[in-house]
Amino acid sequence: MSALAATILPEDHALQQATTLLRATVNEPRPQTSSLPDSALQRRAAVLFRAAENELHRHTDQLFARLMIVQWLAGIAAALLISPLTWIGDSSQVHVHVWAAVLLGGAISGFPVWMASHYPGLAVTRHVIATAQMLTAALLIHLTGGRIETHFHIFGSLAFLAFYRDWRVLATATVVVAGDHLIRGLFWPQSVFGVLTASSWRWMEHAGWVLFEDAILFVAIHRMLREMSEIALRRATLEGSNVEIERQVVERTAELNKTQTELLETSRLAGMAEVATSVLHNVGNVLNSVGVSAELATSKVREFRVGSLKNVAELLQQHSEDLPAFLSSDPRGKMLPDYLLKLAVHLAEPQQAILQEMEMLQKNIDHIKEIVAMQQRYARGTGVVEVLSVADLVEDSIRINAASFSRHEVNVVREIAPVPPLKTDRHKVMQILVNLLSNAKHALDHSEGDKRMTVRVTLNQKGRLEIAVIDNGTGIAAENLSRIFSHGFTTKKLGHGFGLHSGALAAKELGGTLQAHSDGVGLGATFTLTLPLEN
């Protein structure tokens, strides 16, 4: 039988078929570029084609398995309905058709169902199914009394078998139909053709109609296989493209990682530069005070009457041999003690001032150390949290700029409300406040009249600390308010645009904010640092 002959066809037959189709297909313009060479592409397409074909065969096997069961039950129902009993006079027995529907129908359907369940996708399975389908048609025709309508089952089955997209399955079915007609035509011609004298070749006419449908279905199958091969080729091409895309993604990702690393390094260097600039800016502010203190100390030292002391020393050296007489009888000697006393008093005053300046100098130098240390910690991303008195913090900040305020005759007003201790990073707050005070001083540099700076400490409604530095200086233009915290933005001739930017960043790190307000140019400005009491 061709059904079984087909099952022993070489397994590679499908592959050959696919390859033949693919050869025709690959000559067409390729829809997409692929990294795979043509030979690999064809091999992959053939694999995909076979996989799709196998899936189709398995799926169709399952469909037929269900159909077989339904047909079996339908055959039994038809037998029970049409010919349930056979009679001899008034006695009856179960009709042979019923037994045939149950037993023969069960045998015809059972094995294909078992094959579809245990060996789906095998060639032998679908050829068994094709054979069974045609035998089922013959049985149903028989059970329905040869109704012409039941013959349509054959043609419907052929169309259904075309789902396999395997012309050999249709060939098997056709051979079964033709064989059935041939045998019946030879032995019981009237059962097939309705006449007793039918030609022994009449079966070919009936088989011809089946072949007619087969021919149409073969064309459809060929087209469907061609489409499948095209889809397989496109999919293989797409896979190749995906591989290429994935390779490019990996490559680009590596490049991106490298760029990101470089960017991080650049950012780190830029950050360090910013830190360095910030350090210089803050240190520069303090160094201004250091310079002022050194200048004051120098001028005080110059005020020392070292010459007068030298004259007294030389006079005492001249009279070293008669020093008692000189001190008691010489008019100059008599005046010497008083002179020394006055000189001592005179020296004590600048000394005190120098000492104060030295103390301030020491504080400034300490602050420089702290700034450097703070910026180092900032650069490392760590900070020490301390419990601080807000008033002391403000006072220290003012003190750092005190000399500068004094020189520019800035009147600093302190409005410090009683607030709880602040738990935060001292140096970051100091950095912000010193910068704000320095900026306020700069804003007052060219003001005439009352140069007033107010430092106001309050607790807002949300329980957060607010330290406002208010000046009545040059003010800020509205268009500059929005970008005043931007990196590099400055209105000073020698400014760098780092102070407020780093101050805002520091405030954010402390969980707070730094905000600016000005009613306009010439109307002063208010910078408000808001901090949580506990960071």
Binding site: A3, L4, A100, A107, F111, H127, G146, D180
Partner: protein, 202 residues
């Protein structure tokens, strides 16, 4: 794979054998009987003058009877005005008329030119020596038997058949020869000899 192919081959042999047996069964004819060569005057039915008379004996519950009635309907349509027909539904002893008047009865009664009646205890069947459901007899205008047999192709098998063709040929005077065909149907049972009634038996 070899094992599966062997199984498939065995299965194929089994189902082909079954199908052939089924075909063989469907082609097994019943007892033809030996009807009288001349119209028996003792019959309850009289022939219509100038018309051939077709007599059909049916088992009211035989599944094959429906196909016979279908063929009768076609034949009566094709040979309208050439014959009248009498359908006898066998009523076995001990069965009432309700048992006889199945859904086949109105089908038969609805065919133009066909008379339907109950054959009590198979008296008419006995008279005409009809043993098988579907037995058809054609007597010409002179009361001569010109055809005996069945007008179906096989058991319960509708469609073109040599019996109908022979009757039609005779009526249309294409031939004057007598003809006979196999009868496919259940045993009428009036002779009460089951061994002679192989029809429809498994």
């Amino acid at each position: 794979m070899l094992k599966i192919n062997t199984f498939a081959m065995i299965w194929l042999l089994v189902v082909l054998t079954g199908s052939l047996l089924m075909a063989q069964y469907s082609q097994t004819a019943g007892v033809a009987g030996t009807p009288p060569a001349q119209w028996p005057e003792t019959s309850r039915v009289q022939r219509d003058p100038g018309l051939s008379k077709l007599v059909i004996f049916l088992h009211p519950r035989c599944p094959c009877s429906r196909a016979t009635l279908g063929e009768l309907e076609r034949l009566m349509a094709h040979c309208q005005g050439m014959l009248s027909a009498q359908v006898w539904f066998i009523q076995p002893e001990g069965r009432d008329e309700v048992w006889v008047k199945t859904d086949l009865w109105p089908v038969a009664a609805a065919i133009p030119g066909v008379q339907v009646d109950v054959d009590h205890a198979g008296a008419e069947a006995r008279l005409f020596q009809a043993a098988t459901s579907g037995q058809t007899l054609l007597y010409d205008v002179n009361g001569r038997l010109v055809f005996q047999g069945g007008i179906t192709l096989a058991r319960g098998h509708a469609g073109d058949n040599p019996g109908s063709d022979a009757i039609e040929c005779f009526l249309k005077q294409k031939t004057s020869l007598s003809a006979s065909t196999p009868v496919f149907g259940c045993a009428l049972g009036w002779n009460n000899k089951p061994e002679e009634c192989t029809l429809c038996q498994p």
